[in-house]
């Protein structure tokens, strides 16, 4: 019974997600445009070797960063659905349905996860076809995308359950992902000291994922480093999952 309900609501969430063209515009087209412009400009203004083994290093750097920023903000979908279905307009209607609240939240999370992972893969495919970006090992990249997406969903649920205001939570979510990108050294060069270089390598989910993707191919130095990064990502996801379960039991009734 519960399993059937899960699939029903899962497919409904997927359908709702696939209807909004704006989301795809923001989460797929926009990063592609940004990557294109940035790599175009930087390719024109640098004297270094751009192509290594037939891959464009500048666009590789930028696309990994942009993909991760937009993956980390991908939980905003879930945030809006949670707000719409369980807090504000549809609250009592969905509470009256035979579907338990945890089933709804779980299926919504799963649907958003699938959708954002698909969007991430689209960006990967787009940049590697159009901009010669190098993505290392494909399976590792997909695994990292899934992990980052899970972290993003959980992070957004946590934010939302704490703040209870969808707009503020959305702003904070964007802010966090850009702040992570700043700490990852994507926006401007950071001062060269121990703290910042640690943050750039391992400090945030963003930098962990970035390192993992880089270490998976010829850009990296050791595969143990990659495994450490993935393990750390798994750990963060686990901690957030526990937090979400605790918070959800308390606040989402």
């Amino acid at each position: 019974m519960t399993r059937n309900l899960f699939w029903v609501s899962f497919f409904h969430y997927l359908r709702r997600l696939s209807r909004g063209y704006l989301g795809i515009l923001i989460f797929v087209a926009l990063p592609l445009v940004i990557v294109w412009v940035l790599s175009f400009v930087y390719s024109q203004n640098t004297e270094e070797q751009i192509y290594v083994f037939g891959y464009n290093m500048i666009s590789t750097n930028i696309s990994i960063g942009m993909m991760l920023i937009f993956q980390l903000s991908g939980g905003i979908y879930l945030l809006n659905y949670l707000n719409h279905d369980l807090i504000k307009p549809m609250k009592w209607r969905l509470k009256a349905s035979p579907c338990a609240t945890y089933t709804l939240v779980f299926s919504g999370t799963a649907a958003c996860l699938v959708f954002t992972v698909l969007q991430g893969i689209l960006i990967v495919v787009g940049t590697s076809l159009l901009q010669d970006a190098y993505w290392g090992n494909v399976w590792i990249v997909i695994f990292v995308i899934v992990l980052v997406s899970i972290i993003s969903q959980f992070l957004n649920i946590t934010l939302f359950l704490y703040i209870r205001n969808v707009n503020t939570a959305e702003y904070i979510s964007w802010f966090l992902s850009w702040a992570m990108a700043v700490l990852g050294g994507l926006i401007f060069t950071l001062p060269d000291n121990a703290f910042f270089s640690f943050m750039k390598q391992y400090g945030t989910p963003f930098s962990l994922a970035q390192s993992a993707i880089r270490e998976s191919g010829f850009l990296g130095t050791s595969s143990t480093n990659m495994l450490v990064c993935i393990a750390a990502l798994l750990g963060i996801a686990g901690i957030l999952a526990v937090l979400v379960i605790k918070l959800g039991r308390r606040k989402l009734i």
């Binding site: 704006l22 989301g23 400009v41 930087y42």
Partner: protein, 228 residues
Amino acid sequence: MTIFLFAFIRSLRRKSTLVAMFVLPLAIVFIRTLWTLENGRGFLFYGMIIMFAAFSLVRSIMIDRMTGTVVRIFAAPVATFQYLFQNLLAFWLIIGVQTIVFVVIGSALYGWGIEMAVRLILSYNIFAVASLAFSLAWNSMFRSKVMSDAIFSIIISLMALLGGIFIPISMLPDFLRKIGMLFPTYWLSNSLLFIQDKEWNGQYWLSILIMFLFSAAFLLYGSKRRLE
């Protein structure tokens, strides 16, 4: 000036405004690496903060329109001009005060000097007017908040991209620069570029003039009276 007063108080009551107005600028003004005259990204980041602040302030006009409050306001003997003028003046005052505070702190920390400070304040204020006008025009095009926000986030990314926030405008190739020139952010970074280089020539005033023209165009578009 009743509307002015109420718009002022209403804006200050919102937490998001307070964060955008006072917490974010103070957070970045103390990061020393942002404010070297060679790198100078901080000046542009502050411009983006003004843009966001303007957008979130003008949101209250859109809320008035969507909830039908504006119909009740216009039932009183209030002209459209008065309503918009006093609201925008209140918003501008908030941003203006914040700019002055910000520039004073920056001058004290990094020794910008009087002339540079005055020019910075002028640049930022004109840009604030342009941003307010842009947000007004933007919000008059949309009926739903979600839609407006979503498309705005795309536009603001493009503005940031082509207006010199990510890449200095001098690095832009010619055809991208000519697209970028259609956004006020380009002219803000242009004027800031000449402030940082301490070159007081016509280019600075040209940027100010063009930002002013942008404001006029956006105001004309956004000020049409709409009751729905």
